[in-house]
């Protein structure tokens, strides 16, 4: 069974009189353990697709099954729980809580799944060790470099043992060297831990790290299915 299975996915934004189809009839499936990059020019619908897959947004039409769960029709809180248990997010702008130490940022998903304090700390430390930041656990985000901040974000995505990591332009704010380090870390996670990784990027050399590329154009998948 596919980890992610979408069919006929549509997302329509209504702006006054004009209807804008951000996504139109997208059907695809992603298997457990894949490393996929989603490419396409801006406005092609790749980010909308990611947001729907990440349960941050809801489709206007179509069905979506994530790890066997029919996501359509779930309540806000049920979606929150799905995000908490199944998905780790990595964003272009890192999206760490400001004035909050690295370890506390990493602990965040565990707080919302009611993991006890001691276990929370141990699991967060373990996740920081995986990304190589165990020595920076008490640094604030503004005391860390961009690459380090993105590593903290990856640790946060790992900490609740989610089977899938969704990374939206994870290297967009990083220099080439750091970008490659981050991508290598993601490759390692994919190969060693079998975590399914989906990244959105418009840089061809970043997409080269993936095994499969899905291209979007005007709200449709044009290749890679």
């Amino acid at each position: 069974m596919a980890l992610i299975d979408v069919s006929g996915l549509c997302k329509t934004y209504v702006m006054g009189e004009v209807k804008l189809n951000a996504l139109c009839g997208v059907t695809t499936s992603i298997q457990r353990g894949e490393f996929i990059s989603i490419m396409g020019p801006s406005g092609s619908g790749k980010s909308t697709f990611m947001n729907i897959i990440g349960c941050l947004d809801t489709p206007t039409e179509g069905s979506y099954r994530l790890d066997g769960i029919d996501v359509r029709g779930l309540s806000r809180d049920q979606l929150a729980e799905v995000r908490n248990k199944k998905i780790g997010f990595v964003f272009q702008g890192f999206n760490l809580l400001p004035r909050t130490s690295a370890i506390e940022n990493v602990e965040l998903p565990l707080i919302y799944s009611a993991v006890s304090g001691k276990e929370r700390f141990e699991r967060a430390m373990e996740a920081l060790r995986v990304v190589g930041l165990q020595d920076r656990s008490h640094h604030m985000p503004n005391q860390l470099s961009g690459g380090q901040q993105q590593r903290v974000a990856i640790a946060r995505a790992l900490v609740n043992r989610a089977p899938i990591i969704l990374a939206d332009e994870p290297t967009g704010n990083l220099d080439t060297k750091t970008s490659n380090e981050i991508m290598e870390l993601l490759v390692t996670l994919n190969q060693d831990s079998g975590i399914t990784i989906v990244i959105v990027t418009h840089e061809a050399d970043i997409a080269e790290y993936s095994k499969r590329k899905i291209r979007f154009l005007d709200g449709r998948i044009v290749s890679g299915n």
Binding site: D57, D77, A80, E81, K85, N95, L97, A114
Partner: protein
Amino acid sequence: MTMIDIPSTIRISLRAIRVNKMRSALTMLGIIIGVGAVITMISVGSGARQRISEQISSMGSNLIMILSGATTQGGIRMGTGTQPTLTLGDAQAIQRECPAVQYSAPTHGGTAQVIFGNQNWSTAVTGTTPEMLYVREWQLTEGRNFTNDDIRSAAKVCLLGKTVVENLFGGIDPLGQVIRIKKVPFTVIGVLESKGQSPTGQDQDDVIYIPVTTSQKKIFGTPFAGSVRMIMVKAKSAEDLPLAENQITELLRQRHRIGPRQENDFTVRNLTQMMEAQEQSAKVMTMLLAAIASVSLLVGGIGIMNIMLVSVTERTREIGIRMAVGAKTWDIRLQFIIEALTLSIIGGIVGIIIGIGTSELISSTSGWNTLVSPFSVILAFGFSVLVGVFFGFYPAYKASMLKPIDALRYE
């Protein structure tokens, strides 16, 4: 559904407050002033009330005053006391024949110059009977009360109020000394304990009591034999007051031979009722003050809402991050409610301390009575907590209803 982790939520909220020290302090200031004002105002109000009720009890309880007069002569209504109609006999008959009356004492007299040694003092000299001390519930600090023999023989003996003792005697023990009232020598047989101010602000201790007969015959004289100015009556109990009034009216109409269609030639006044009305007005004042102070508490609450709303907007991205990693509706709501609650609770506690301090300051600088009651503290604190929940909920609700993707994209 997983459980909401309350301790972590509290920690998150406390951190948010700590991180924004200045903003949190300013928000709390509203609550601090509100709670402080409520406590101070209530303490001033209940202090005034306590003072009034102390004064009332210093007057003596269950008091009825009978004044002569209130007659109509040829269509012209005369004021009370203008027509002397009451007598010593009336006073004695009231105590003897009205079952609802416990004690009855007449007063007769006026103001006179009093001399001891080289000191002199002008004071109220009141002729009365031994019952007066029972009616007024007045104790002697030394010496003895009048006896019936003193009344019968119009003895030249007197009881002195505290103020008179202080002004005439300085440090000398007045007991057994001889003072002159209107040049007539009187032996001091007792000293009255201090009663302080009356509800109308008069010094109750500026008084000399002498036997009523002595006052009538030797000092002030009477328009007719045995006449007195006023009779003070103590009813057996508060419930007996209306009954006592009726019995007294009935008896005096009989004794004064007033026909069924004629008006009373005396006036009966229930003193206790008058005093209770005053106490009631002090109560109203307390409530009014508290209501005014509550407005500032309300304004403080709106301040909290204001800050929380700004905080929600400012932290939209943070809310988005939390939602993305799995925060549920109530996780977000609780976080903001607890933040608001913490601000209002800390503000409430500081406000209580400041309120108590301010009422202490008022009582020590202005000499007003203030009374910080546990009730007002609980009220103010409870209200501030309520304000926190109430005004914290809307911003919390607003935050929790954001779409995760919109919150994340917020710039």
